[in-house]
């Protein structure tokens, strides 16, 4: 049986929810107020017979009172609370951050995984597991879901926003989202779950992770890394991904709140300023239980939902392992629309895009793009090696009304990033080498990062030794000759191509491990971590000049990072390119001009020049007398006058001159005439066909051992 919370705090909350005080309950139960007070403060517990009475007083069943795993439904029901418009009539409500981005599931993947990595429970050493579920619902399932989210309460708000759609980008997005749901009768739910993470702990309003995500969207944009926890820009992308601006949350906490851990549920809606009925509303709305402590008990707060509610909200979690589930309602992926359809036909291995769209194209494409982003940005966090478990495990699955559309796909970084994962694993396992002599090897170099003194003082605080790994790469690893730079959270921060390498350098991939990623023994790892973290913009996609870097160190501090890049490039070059022998005479340019490059030969010069008929097809067989019988097709250029051509049949040889065979027979079949072994093409024809047979007495070797060569030579031959 589930262990609920202590009776005292539970009862206190139920009274509050029901709008009763201790005296009123005491009256109903015909007890003294002191007896009720003793229960609430935990000095005593009611007798079992009294439990039935209490249940009746709270309007609930005896089981709920016994287990106390959920709140009674007694008080005010779960509802949407819309933040009222400003007194001064300002219309600037709404989350600028959530509206600033185009919906892009790849950005979402990046931000959500990064948050999960930051919120990973580290004590048990296990990875944080992140699972993406794309779930398209239609028909009854959709109806039931709309009921669960109290759509009828929301509809007037959406209508108000739609009316203003013409004036606002956000309005247009929301309008399209609502229309999509009704006209096509479908809704895409994108769920992001993490397990073995801290969950949304903390009070509903005070500093803490819960409030940072649910309440203070704007504040934490100031990359407030203290009180706001690690949820920075990331959370805004959750709302940005929803065409309806709606995200529902169910969190299992690692640290109990109000004595509970499971099914802390709340929903948040992001809408622009709107006027509905008599009221005006500015920005967000929350789905929750009205808070009796708030003015007029109108503000809603998270509630401890029962299993049934969670199920109906599509928020059921797999286990009681701590972590959070975000349900993005009406998920869309504007960025995928930019990709041309041609790309998709090539990319989709199932080849489904070549067929009639079965209506799953959107969600399949979303699935594919999520996988892509996870492979690209989190391969390092997902890589294990030696005794080290990965920091992160991810998977993506796609459903439609509960039926599998794309099977759950565990992201395997070695599949998509074989070279880089090999490099990192070799580092973990201690199998790196000094020099690269064979494919598959991973070379290691340390590269110095000189950390400046804080506070603008001149000088170096210490030298961090970053770890550079270089290994050969194949086609699968994407853009060749790149360095992926990471720090402790193993997310690829920076991708840069090594410049200035000589011609002919073999394809390679390099990984730069900085900060705590460089290993426990690396000097000044924590300091480097802090320094580089400060050098990351909110997008976490590069290192360079930032406000924080300037404030905490100096305005020249970013030069230290530029120097690191120079050192990295030099180290890579030393590993992959041969040092040039000195003493070359006569200048590099002249030498280059005097080289016959073997690769140049492949730049195909057409066998025939422009305006000449060209052989376009050849079919051949050996006839009964041992003669070669051929049918050849000629492509004719669009020119006024077609030159005559002579078909010549030769035998290929190992070396030397190719023996020429005689024709026994040459017949024009289409688009041409044959005259004394010379082809005359019909004016205006685009294609000609002729046939022929060789004179077997001209064969220098028996025919079965020959390779036939057919050529068209301009003119009448010799």
């Amino acid at each position: 049986m589930e262990t609920g919370e202590d009776f005292g705090p539970w009862l206190a909350r139920q009274l509050k929810l029901a709008g009763k005080n201790q005296a009123e309950l005491a009256d109903e139960l015909k007890l003294t107020r002191a007896a009720v007070s003793a229960w609430i403060t935990g000095r005593s517990v009611p007798r079992p017979t009294m439990m039935t009475e209490i249940a009746r007083a709270l309007g609930t069943d005896i089981g709920t009172v016994h287990t106390r795993t959920t709140d009674t439904q007694a008080g005010l029901p779960v509802t949407w609370y819309h933040r009222p418009g400003y007194q001064d009539g300002g219309r600037d409500g709404g989350n600028a951050a959530a509206f600033a981005f185009d919906a892009d599931v790849q950005v979402l993947a990046r931000e959500t995984c990064q948050n999960s990595l930051d919120e990973r429970l580290t004590d048990n050493g296990r990875p944080v597991r992140v699972r993406y579920t794309i779930h398209e619902i239609t028909g009854e399932t959709l109806d039931a879901f709309r009921q669960a989210i109290l759509w009828d309460e929301l509809q007037p708000h959406y209508e108000a926003v739609s009316e203003a759609a013409a004036h606002q980008k956000v309005g247009r997005v929301v309008h399209a989202g609502v229309r999509d749901m009704f006209e096509k009768g479908r809704l895409v739910l994108l769920r992001v779950d993490d397990y073995n993470a801290s969950g949304l702990v903390g009070d509903d309003y005070d500093n803490g992770k819960f409030a940072a995500v649910v309440r203070r969207q704007l504040e934490s944009l100031k990359s407030d890394r203290g009180a706001g926890g690690s949820f920075g820009l990331g959370k805004a992308t959750l709302w940005a991904t929803s065409a309806l601006g709606m995200v529902l949350i169910n969190s299992t906490l690692s640290v109990p709140h109000e004595g509970r851990t499971e099914r802390r549920v709340i929903g948040r809606l992001e809408l622009p300023w709107r006027s509905v009925g008599d009221g005006t509303y500015a920005g967000p709305a929350w789905l929750g239980r009205p808070d009796p402590d708030s003015p007029g008990a109108q503000v809603t707060r998270s509630w401890w939902a029962d299993e049934d509610i969670v199920e109906r909200l599509h928020l059921t979690r797999d286990s009681d392992e701590p972590g959070t589930s975000f349900l993005i309602v009406g998920a869309h992926d504007v960025a995928s629309l930019d990709e041309s359809n041609a790309d998709r036909v090539v990319d989709d291995e199932n080849g489904r895009d070549g067929q009639e769209d079965d209506g799953t194209r959107d969600i399949r494409s979303m699935h594919r793009r999520l996988v892509e982003a996870l492979e690209r940005d989190f391969w390092a966090a997902m890589t294990a090696g030696g005794s080290r478990l990965p920091l992160l495990e991810t998977s993506v699955r796609t459903l439609r009304n509960g039926q599998v559309v794309v099977e759950e796909q565990q992201i395997d970084p070695t599949e998509a990033q074989p070279a880089r994962t090999r490099a990192l694993r070799a580092f973990y396992e201690g199998t790196t080498v000094d020099r690269l002599t064979e494919p598959g090897q991973v070379a290691l170099r340390t590269v110095p990062l000189k950390l400046p003194l804080a506070g603008g003082r001149r000088g170096t605080h210490g030298t961090h030794q970053a770890v550079l790994l270089v290994t050969d790469a194949g086609d699968k690893d994407g853009v060749p000759k790149q360095v992926h730079s990471l720090r402790g959270n193993r997310m690829t921060i920076k991708r840069s191509t090594v410049a200035g390498l000589p011609l002919g350098v073999n394809s390679f991939q390099a990984v730069l491990l900085t900060g705590t990623a460089a290993g426990e023994a690396a000097p000044f790892a924590e300091e480097a971590e802090e320094f580089l973290r400060a050098a990351e913009p909110p997008e976490h996609d590069r290192w360079g000049q930032t406000e924080e870097l300037t404030l905490r160190w100096s305005h020249t501090a970013h030069h230290r990072i530029a120097r690191l890049t120079t050192e990295v490039n030099a180290a890579v070059k030393e590993l992959v390119a041969r040092p040039k022998r000195s003493g070359d005479e006569g200048g590099a340019k002249l030498r280059k001009a005097l080289t016959v490059s073997p690769t140049k030969k492949t730049t195909s010069r057409r066998a025939a020049g422009p305006g000449l008929p060209e052989l376009d097809g050849l079919d051949a067989s050996i006839g009964p007398a041992g003669e070669w019988r051929i049918t050849a097709e000629v492509k004719l250029p669009r020119v006024d006058e077609l030159p005559v051509m002579t078909p010549v049949v030769l035998l290929d040889v190992r070396s030397g001159a190719r023996p020429r065979l005689d024709w026994a027979e040459l017949v024009a079949e289409e688009g041409c005439e044959m005259e004394d072994g010379v082809l005359r093409f019909t004016p205006g024809a685009r294609r000609a066909v002729f046939g022929g047979a060789t004179d077997v007495t001209s064969h220098p070797v028996r025919t079965a051992l020959t390779r036939l060569v057919l050529e068209l030579r301009a003119g009448q031959g010799e």
Partner: protein
């Protein structure tokens, strides 16, 4: 177009170098860095500054057969994969059989020994899949489409034929025959193993200009000079290549196997456009040895050299630079 009278694979074998080591006079082996070979250039450079005295090199290879080669229903039996090292200058041809990595695998690997005494410059590696097809043994069913080059002297894996550039003071050279050219800034010697450009260091400042890597107008002059020189060189080597052709008994010219062949294959498409290189060679040879047409062909040879040397680009850049500097003067 070509046609084989038996079933084979259309796609080529992919051949890769996986390691290279040098055997030194004391019988130790030195494993070379992977930078000794270049996959994009398909070249192995065995010349390493610190080991000029190596006796042989072992090159590790792996080959991937095209799809269908090892299928159960393949129309052949007894499949083997051979790698051949061939050097036309020293008539060396060594074949080694690769081993299949696992039964049924399309990956095969092995190594080839390159004997230092057997090569002067470049040797070529190719792979062939050989099998018995329709009871005929030893048929080639697939091969590499492009050779790997093994250069025993180059220190950079750049492949390709590189003409020699030497700086000499002509007037006082120990090569007395150069004295006759003392007033020329450069001459082309196409008689050696590979053609060489001899740069006369007696012409003051000339060698410096050639070595210069500075920008600006000087750079443009440098570029123009380089194109001028290489036009000369390409014209000279083309003449030299076409002037020394071997012929079959019926007078058909044969492609030389040394640098001459490479130069001809490179330039003939511009000299005689629109025909197969063999046919182009025949035409050029006929004009050179016949009664007429050789003089007329000079324009085309010059055009091929100009194209090869990239004259148009260098010239237009120089002109643009000149215009810009003129505008700068007026401003």
């Amino acid at each position: 177009m070509k046609f084989y009278p038996y079933k084979r694979l259309n796609r080529p074998i992919a051949l890769r170098v996986t390691s290279a080591s040098l055997k030194l006079p004391d019988n130790t082996r030195d494993l070379l860095d992977t930078s000794a070979w270049s996959v994009p250039q398909r070249t192995v450079a065995l010349g390493v500054a610190q080991h000029d005295d190596w006796t042989s090199a072992r090159i590790g290879l792996s080959a991937t057969l095209p799809p269908g080669a090892v299928a159960d229903d393949a129309p052949w039996t007894g499949l083997k994969v051979l790698v051949t090292l061939a050097d036309g200058e020293t008539n060396v041809r060594t074949s080694v059989e690769l081993r299949q990595d696992a039964p049924g695998s399309k990956e095969w690997s092995g190594f080839v020994e390159v004997n230092r005494d057997d090569h002067v410059g470049r040797a070529f590696l190719s792979a062939q899949a050989v099998a018995t097809v329709d009871d005929v043994a030893g048929r080639s069913v697939a091969e590499t489409d492009e050779d790997w080059t093994v250069d025993v002297t180059a220190d950079e894996p750049l492949g390709g034929l590189r003409l020699d550039v030497k700086q000499v003071g002509f007037a006082k050279s120990s090569r007395e025959w150069l004295h006759a050219y003392a007033d020329a800034p450069w001459i082309v010697d196409a008689s050696g193993r590979v053609p060489a450009v001899l740069v006369n260091t007696d012409v003051e400042g000339f060698a410096d200009l050639l070595d210069a890597e500075s920008g600006g107008m000087e750079n443009k002059v440098h570029e123009l000079l380089v194109t001028q020189m290489s036009t000369d060189v390409w014209t000279a080597v083309f003449h030299s290549a076409v002037g020394d052709l071997e012929t079959e008994s019926d007078g058909t010219p044969v492609f030389p196997t040394d640098w001459r062949g490479e130069v001809l294959r490179e330039m003939l498409p511009d000299v005689a456009p629109g025909v197969h290189v063999e046919e182009a060679l025949r035409r050029v040879h006929r004009r050179r040895t016949g009664d007429a047409g050789w003089v007329e062909l000079q324009t085309r040879i010059h055009y091929a050299a100009v194209r090869r040397a990239g004259v148009s680009r260098a010239l237009s850049q120089a002109l643009r630079a000149l215009q810009q500097s003129n505008r700068g003067d007026h401003a």
